[in-house]
Symmetry: none
Subunit: 230 residues, 2 copies
Amino acid sequence: MENLRVLVVDDEPNIRDLLSASLRFAGHQVATSPNGTDAITKIVDTQPDIVLLDVMLPDISGFGVTKKIRGMGIDVPILFLTARDDTEDKIAGLTVGGDDYVTKPFSLDEIMARISAIMRRTGKDGSSPSHIQVGELEINEDAHEVTVNGTPVELSPTEYQLLRYLATNPNRVLTKAQILDHVWEYDFNGEMGIVESYVSYLRKKLDPISTEPLIITKRGVGYMIRSPKA
Amino acid sequence: MENLRVLVVDDEPNIRDLLSASLRFAGHQVATSPNGTDAITKIVDTQPDIVLLDVMLPDISGFGVTKKIRGMGIDVPILFLTARDDTEDKIAGLTVGGDDYVTKPFSLDEIMARISAIMRRTGKDGSSPSHIQVGELEINEDAHEVTVNGTPVELSPTEYQLLRYLATNPNRVLTKAQILDHVWEYDFNGEMGIVESYVSYLRKKLDPISTEPLIITKRGVGYMIRSPKA
DNA sequence: GACAACTCTCAGAAAACTTCCAGCTAACAG
DNA sequence: CTGTTAGCTGGAAGTTTTCTGAGAGTTGTC
């Protein structure tokens, strides 16, 4: 999933910066927009591959923006950013076609996963896999299902995200700070001890099934999943 | 990793001097800045390749500087310098994009390794290898893994840093003072005997596997790793 | 409104790591 | 060959990091 042209629309500069930095780092081209009218202009002008669109904007709502551009025949996929208490049905109605939504505050890994999913579904990109395999571990992104040696494992949402982040970076030590920044919501204010806790939960569920420990502790550095090949 | 343009921002002149001297010695161009406002100006004016940014500055905090320049669309990678007890929770949120942090007091080798890692990840530089090889010894920087003749070796953080420092300077005698300055934190107050201890630890782990002694003692001078080629 | 699942914090225990020390060994000079 | 000195290494003390169980608080479900 390299080099998409992404438009980020949000009135909070922090969110815009957070998202643009991460997306640029992931290799995409990013443009930003602070409000609805500007967003419409930019969408029409630059025809981005995907739009991250805050629902609550100072002028025109994200829904309004969508209606407008759809009316112009532009069917760019949209990932809505909504507050947690915006009613679900309102959103559900709008996420037709390839669209999707995430609630604020989100985690970066969540956003990246959704973008991959959308691009996969709309067929504009085949390179990001819906199926991750590292050794005995398999993760089915579509079904949110995890198996070790073919045995299915039940994981909570946070456990799943943590495992996926580790599995998408095999043979690479990830620090607790990196893990926190990717897997937990951006406004999480707690300690890194929580990463240790969740690694512990994962090991308790995974290691009884696997033939060898999956998550390796690199003391003083972080955690890593080793792929047997390399 | 030659000839980067680095901006060092710290209010302590000692730290500035320490870092500029080392970075210049490593072949980079260095500019320095004692506070946040000056830093912002210099970043905008000179567009450095990387910024070493103290979090605790007299005027604007390092976070404030970051926010400001990111808001201006400058996405230069930043390596934050933080006190160890501004602990971890404030640091969360920093490792997005290409950014990273080190805690004070740091070791010079640590700083150099982080800079290399950032430049590697942001793709602005391909010349600094994530994989060091000297004879039978291989060091994988991503996985923090060391192998001798393909056999993996478990090293503690200090052992790893010492070995890496030696391995990045093959065929060259490094004095204990140099080693102390590079591998240990800059405010380390102990004796050079500790270098001998750690060389001993490394030998105990490495020599049983290698076909010939890896670390050579140059009596009265220091230590060296010899590369078979040269 | 009770139950179940999940998230997060905390604190004690266990393990790993760092440092210093002191006695020993190997190298070199004369 | 012998004395001197630099370097080596095992051990012990002290510190830091990691692991994990228990519990409080939340959210969602029936």
